[in-house]
Amino acid sequence: MSRKARFKEGSCGRRGFLKLLTVTAVGAMALPSESEAFDLDAFIQRHFKELDKEALAKTLRRLEEKYDHDYGRDDFKVRADGPQPGVHYAYALNLSKCIGCRRCVQACVEENNQHRGDPERGDRIDYIRVLEMEKGSLNVEKSEHFYDHEVPAEGKYYMPVQCHHCNDAPCVKACPVEATWQEPDGIVVVDYNWCIGCRYCAAACPYWARKFNWVKPRIPSEEINPDTHYLGNRPRYQGVMEKCTFCINRVRRGLNPACHDICPTGSRKFGNLLDENSVIRQIIATKRVFILKEEVGTDPSFYYFFD
């Protein structure tokens, strides 16, 4: 049976439709048993970029109600704050200061409503992977990201890797249905209602940044972050791709990403690349800045530096 038939959610628009087609095509008579009632609104929902103001407002309200219902809450907020003119987000990470404590990984999962997974199988979705590197080497192939000890360890340095929000993003080019794109402010986003789960984007990404929802994400109701964005941390469906969005729900309101604010060492720097007074520009002007895997030519909005 094709992979498509394993998508167990009925209410996710196009994917539900595709599944229906597949199921019909192979002659299966019943929908998967867990399927929810067919949701016409979700089914005819347009691509995010094509939604007009009114349709968008309606969609956001519908989603808020659905999530409140799904998670037994009454405080879901689904935002759709747009990009601001004159802003291109960029991130810089100080490799001389990072000690590899993984506080960022944890804060990210909590902020962005990732699948918590089963602690034993460890299938939690993390957007950030912290590489333990040999001092003096820049070879990420020889790095270790399963280390578990007091940090920083002697002779090591640490390199957290997450979505680089490339300006020439291979993942965007790989998507056959335009379910992922780069916003005018540089954030690479996914429309979960449009993604068909083909995973081409994950294969195309040189930074291991894209994470796939193999299962319906499981998040205890009390751990949900109800402050969400349509293109970011709203609850995801099974069978869709997700990724770091620089915490789009936060940054579009002027706040820093969660990983930035949690870092105890102050290695993480975030700001507007187009503002010459921003910390990012100060770093570019005064530090040794480099790009990971520069040779693949993806033109990231994510820099590393030493001081």
Binding site: R102, R124, D126, A202, I262, P264, V279, Q282
Partner: protein
Amino acid sequence: MEHLGNARRLSPILHGTKPAASGLWIPLILMTLGMAAPAAGLTTSDRLAVISDQLGYYPCMDCHGDQATYTQPRILEEEHVEPLLYTDTEGVVHQVTFGERLAISQLIAEPKAWDLRSEMLAKVGLSIGIREYMEFNGLSEEDSVWVLTHGGGNIWCLNCHDIEDRNKLVKLNGEKLTFNQSQLLCGECHGPALHDWELGIHGKTTGYWNLAMDSGDVSIRKLCVECHNPHAPAFASMQALPPPVSRIPRRGVDAPETAAEDRENGGHGHE
């Protein structure tokens, strides 16, 4: 999300510092204190009050007002002996007092004496006072020059604390600073770090990347002393949070149907 704890709030109010000579003027965002107080209308003394509140010993002049100062580097025993955690060369954690901590830093500089100490610690299996250590080694106080961890033996309390007014810190030129200006003290010897801190590169500012959107009470720039203990400034190591577990796909349940399928998909990209 962020534990604000004793973090100190930023406001666009200029206070105390000038940008270091860089020819670059950035809108210097400086600390104001107190999570509850409104950004505007905070006076310097309000801000000082909040920092001072966090100091267990303030106001210093309650005791030091009529107390003679003995400027010799030594073990402090009567006061300032708050317990500190200290890890010995075998990785065993001991509780030591402020005074002992200063002494120990000296011993680290003298490996021989240091070895003796760990030997002795191993014998009694416990943390011991520096006095016992000295007795054990037949040392008298004159045998040793007690130094501060900070600065590797080159600085002592009164390089930073004003000798007359203990409520103040002191710059190299004798200019007095209140405790809410400690970063300027650090900058005396660590100019580049202070400069980077002013630009927002060293240390961290939580809250808003876009201060124009700050509603006035959430952007915080951490002070040097919130990350570095001024008396033992090396950044503390810590336990890393648990690593990701490598994913072992369960056939047909929720994972790729075959390992090959996972590999085809970039493999380790999807734990």
